[in-house]
Symmetry: C2
Subunit: 416 residues, 2 copies
């Protein structure tokens, strides 16, 4: 058994120029990691002959598996197919199976196959085509000595289907890989350097099989533990032990592990306690609702939300007192208290939460600069509030408000 290394090559001026965020290589990393295949390097190069040929060569020297995304569309700026044909010294040939498949799929939708789409069925002879269920450009699988080259389109859903249905199952057949186990511990409400200080001794005494990394975010820090070796059972025991120590030291900041997200964790707590939640969002504008409803099964604990962006809606639909807003403004403790209490009642939830703040860049006053944010949590017994002064851009202010309020919900539920 030896380590299997992969190099990911993304093709596209649009990534280099910052017009597209490359999420493909992120997805591929996640999936290869699950199989114990180590991504050694990621490279993004331009839609340009020299840069692409050099990237193919470097990747071949560097890794066992080379996964190329992008540059496979029907249009003229797409160079991957002709350059791979050149790299593998292979003739182009019309693949009749692919052509038939394209024809029948187009016929089903009452559409004619145009010349651009027909050209997609032309492939280098030396490759094995990879079926594209959601698009017209087939993927390609090349082998050269013991190296595997794979080319896929840059459209995420097309690439994902190829990975899940064809490529990953094939990798599982071909490669025997070492054991690599990651455990992600997710904290909220504590700064990276304070966390690191509290964990210094523990970190210095980690067993040699385990590596630690800090991944900071907006009011959240993730700790990644990676165990590697041959004996899965041994590694799992080691990891469990160290994770146990982590909970002893900083457990009150830990909201979950691995794929858990904060809203999903709150969902679990709510389900355990048989409680439900509803939210009234002003400055977060639907984002907290979106975080809850991004979790499958959220209808079990999430009642719904309202986003009364204007004061008359806060008053007439949600039921905040007119005087409260007139006397204190919409961004005030009194207003978020009433918002949280009213949404709790109106939506028939056990817990009501609310936000009102100035996300920016407009809307600031002298007394209330951009980032001034009130949140509240009403649970029927009492109503808690918090005031924050964030200093980020609009999007980050919205996100950190959501994370901070969700942490208040988590703390409140954990102490119930």
């Amino acid at each position: 058994m030896k380590d299997i290394y992969a190099e990911l090559v993304s093709i596209g001026d649009e990534i280099l120029y910052g017009q597209t965020l490359d999420t493909n290589s992120h997805y591929i990393s996640v999936e290869l990691d699950k199989l114990g295949i180590r991504v050694k390097r990621k490279v993004t190069v331009a839609d340009n002959r020299d840069a692409m040929m050099r990237a193919f060569k470097e990747a071949e020297d560097n890794a066992d598996i080379i996964i190329i995304t992008g540059g496979l569309g029907p249009t003229k700026d797409d160079l991957t197919k002709p350059l791979l044909a050149e790299y593998f010294d292979s003739e182009m040939k019309m693949n009749e199976d692919i052509l038939e498949d394209l024809k029948s799929r187009f016929a089903k939708r009452d559409r004619e196959l145009n010349d651009l789409n027909k050209g997609q069925a032309e492939l280098p002879e030396k490759c094995t085509p990879i079926n594209n269920k959601y698009g017209t450009a087939p993927g390609m699988w090349f082998e050269k000595a013991d190296k595997v080259f794979i080319s896929m389109p840059g459209v995420p859903k097309e690439m994902k289907y190829m990975m899940e249905d064809i490529i990953l199952p094939k990798f599982k057949e071909i490669y025997e890989t070492p054991v690599l186990i990651h455990k992600m511990i997710k904290t909220v409400g504590i700064q990276e350097s304070i966390l690191a200080e509290r964990l210094e001794n523990w970190e210095n005494n980690l067993p040699k099989e385990i590596k630690l990394a800090y991944l900071p975010g907006l009011n959240q820090v993730k700790l990644r533990l990676t165990a590697s070796g041959d004996d899965k059972e041994h590694l799992e025991k080691l990891l469990d032990k160290e994770v146990g120590k982590l909970y002893e030291k900083v457990g009150k900041y830990i909201y979950g592990t691995d794929e858990t997200n904060l809203a999903g964790k709150i969902g679990e707590l709510l389900k355990e306690k048989g409680l439900t939640i509803a939210c009234a969002e002003s400055c977060t504008g639907g984002y907290i609702a979106h975080l809850f409803t991004s979790n499958s099964g959220s209808s079990e604990y999430y009642r719904g939300g309202i986003n009364p962006y204007h004061n008359d809606l806060k008053i007439n639909v949600l039921g905040v007192n007119k005087e409260t807003i007139e006397q204190n403004g919409a961004v005030s403790e009194q207003t978020v208290v009433e918002m949280a209490e009213r949404v709790r009642e109106l939506f028939g939830a056990d817990i009501g939460i609310s936000t009102s703040g100035i996300a920016g860049p407009g809307g600031a006053t002298k007394e209330k600069p951009v980032g001034t944010t009130w949140v509240a949590l009403a649970d029927g017994d009492n109503t808690q509030t918090k005031l924050y002064h964030f200093q980020f851009d609009r999007q980050s202010n919205i996100e950190i408000t959501a994370n901070s309020l969700l942490n208040l919900v988590r703390q409140t539920l954990s102490s119930k």
Copy 2:
């Protein structure tokens, strides 16, 4: 004047293992592009001595500017600083200015500087430190012959502040760059291959200064035109002319250019016509509200939203008839019609929109598989509906539902 090339080096196992999405290099690309500095390549390597030293060397050979992010935290897994000291053959030294700054910032927050944070003020002698307003790790600026090496922390807000306030202004002083103008044309509701076919002749006759790329997404395709040369005025005229031709050929699918997003464009149309909008979201769960409110100034046209996730809220808070849901189900044409009409009235908006569907992976029935989605738009005169059968994962089903409904709003407003 010569082309100035940059190479971006991201450091971090967490990116290679797929635990963090690299958004830093995307932001840096955008900013360098605005200055006419061409990002030639992006590389991500592990927190590992050999990989990092090799990346520094390759980047030095490949580009004029090398921008390194990550690996600069206070913790042990952060190798960038010692390795850059080694690469530049430089001693480490405590920087008293940085230390004083850290001390006074900590004092303001009534906190003691711990040893980990103190260590951040120790820097290679050969670098010029870059102040970090939001964190404790300073950036570093090295020069070697005519090459510039910059190292910044991986925390996005810290990196962004350094770029905006220090690095980009300095680049503007130092480099005289060729003119590079991008124009992004954004379409919605037309497939990439159909668009490419309609544009084939036009594309074949583009002037040599202009390059075209297709960037497909969820029900959206972006067209990027890039003009490069010496004469800005000439390039702008050329671009304007070609963009004009694009509008002639496929104008009805174009919703905007450059930074415009679909919800923001709808905002402009609403403002022009003096209209307002409100949304009642079931399956999209607050995401459409979030898209509207992510735009600064959205309160001018966006009244608010409601996200009645449960049927009793659709009935009791929003006002959908109980019989409508009992007889047709929540995912039905009749229900979305009433949702759109009721939210329009309740929120006092000119236009009401609504969604109800099965985002998945749970919730499907034989008659209504995952992806079955109804949307509606009520404008007081009449109410339009659309039925979709999407086949993506939960998150993509939510996104494409939002994009499709927003396109219906755009079309309706454009024809008013």
